[in-house]
Amino acid sequence: MKKTDIIQRIAALADVQPESVANVPRITISGGGRVLVEGHRGLLEYGEDRIAAAGPGYRILIKGEKLALVAMDRRELVVSGRLWAVELE
């Protein structure tokens, strides 16, 4: 079992939000046109219809139309555009 999974389980038992104790991503969708991804691990793919960011062991895939990377730093990235779906692969 990975260290992150253990921390997440402990956090779940303690009724604590996992992202506050482990470095797990938190995805916030505002309306239908803006996504904030906190705790990402890099940009994997960038296109007008799909943007992919790396998470711990999976990909955070944002699908939509006229997507644009508004801002990005080492912990967070903001995507705007017309959203269709946010998937974890």
């Binding site: 890099g42 940009l43 960038y46 296109g47 007008e48 997507l67 990377l69 801002a71 990005m72 080492r74």
Partner: protein, 408 residues
């Protein structure tokens, strides 16, 4: 683009390679902010970064198997980079800044506001005599000295001030109110009719009523005589006062030609250019600027100034001569214009307290002219003060009963 980014400068960078997104990730990890990242097209994308970070990108991209190329630089630091070692250009820029700053200490434009009865030219001439003129050094201005000097030269002004903003002097003036001349109570006058009419009401406040309601009076007829009467008869001369209302009739006619000469531009235009440096004018044309017959002269001025910020003593003037032909054309709404003019004249004649009881218009055309006549019945005050003559005074004196006769 925010002002902050313009001040610090930014660069547009083209990222190309197998995975330009990796460069974005690397930039994020190294704390390099970026914005306006366009999605990749054909393994290339563009992104904007702060100018200071643009230098680091080529190395960073190379390590990730990509290429980074700065395609555009903008902002103030970029401007300085562009100027580089062009010292002459920098010197010219510095000189221009110094000149703008120095010229801001002199007056290059004067405007006057608040004058109505006093001509602006008179005020400008007085200002020039007091030192407020084109090219004057405004830090030496003394508000009190200018105010006193101008008011002394133009007594019709009550107050004035000069405010300077960016080589522009705004002169604000207040005109003195006209004094109402006091009535000379020691003067003996009759109230006489100023025009013919039928007397409607007489309210003598002083003097002896002569005209009665219903009387027909002619101009000059005495309405209230300038003497007082008592039980013993005439007591002596006075200043007769009191309103006298009468019905009056007017017949006013106004004439105007039915057609008028109308300008039609032929399309032929000619321009002359000139440069005005302070008070010196440099013409870029030969001959005079007198407008030939059949031409309109229109002058456009383009001062080198930013309103409210600075004004330089440099104005480019363009004078356009537009040729025209004249042709007869009917005057629009002529009859209504004549009617309005007649009614205005009537109201002026009967005064502010007069009333137009009834009115009608007649029109006639003769020899290409339209004549409109206004027939009106009015009610107005027809009294006018007329000083008593020496004969009048003698006649009044003769009517005063002697004291002895009265005592007997």
């Amino acid at each position: 683009m925010s002002r902050g980014r313009f001040l610090t400068g930014w660069a547009q960078v083209r990222l190309s390679g197998a995975a330009p997104e990796a460069v974005l990730t690397a930039m994020a990890e190294r704390g390099i902010p970026f914005w306006d990242a366009t999605p990749p097209e054909g393994y290339a994308m563009t992104v904007r970064v702060p100018l200071r970070a643009a230098k680091r990108l080529p190395d960073m991209a190379r390590r990730l198997g990509c290429e980074a190329e700065v395609v555009r630089r903008r902002g103030i630091p970029a401007l300085f980079l562009a100027v580089g070692r062009r010292y002459a250009l920098l010197a010219c820029l510095a000189l221009a800044l110094v000149l703008v700053n120095i010229s801001g200490l002199f007056i290059w434009d004067i405007s006057v506001e608040g004058c109505d009865a006093v001509p602006e030219g008179v005020i400008r001439a007085a200002l020039a005599e007091c030192g407020v003129d084109i090219g004057a050094y405004w830090p030496k201005f003394s508000q009190d000295a200018i105010r006193n000097g101008v008011i002394l030269r133009v007594p019709d002004l009550r107050w004035m001030t000069v405010s300077v903003r960016g080589s522009h002097a705004l002169v604000t003036v207040r005109e003195a109110r006209k004094r109402i001349e006091p009535v000379d109570e020691s003067e003996y006058v009759n109230v006489t009719a100023k025009r013919a009419g039928i007397v409607d009401e007489v309210h003598p406040k002083r003097g002896t009523q002569v005209a009665e309601p219903g009387d027909t009076v002619l101009p000059g007829d005495v309405l209230i005589a300038g003497y007082s009467t008592g039980r013993a008869g005439v007591q002596g001369p006075v200043r007769a006062t009191g309103p006298v209302w009468a019905r009056t009739w007017y017949e006013l006619t106004a004439k105007a030609p039915i057609t008028q000469a109308e300008k039609r531009y032929t399309g032929e235009r000619q321009s002359q250019w000139a440069l005005v440096l302070g008070k010196t004018r440099i013409n870029f044309y030969k001959g005079s600027s007198i407008c030939p017959a059949g031409c309109d002269k229109i002058t456009y001025s383009y001062p080198l100034a930013v309103k409210g910020v600075f004004t330089l003593p440099l104005t480019v003037e363009r004078t356009v001569y537009a040729a025209y032909e004249t042709a007869g054309a009917p005057v629009p709404d002529l009859e209504q214009a004549l009617r309005d003019r007649l009614m205005d004249g009537l109201k002026k004649a009967i005064g502010a307290d007069g009333q137009v009881v009834s009115s009608r218009y007649t029109r006639s055309e003769k020899d290409g002219a339209l004549a409109v006549t206004l027939h009106a019945e009015c009610r107005e005050q027809i009294g006018r003060d007329v000083p008593l003559t020496a004969e009048d005074l003698l006649a009044i004196q003769s009517k005063i009963p002697k004291t002895e006769e009265y005592s007997q």
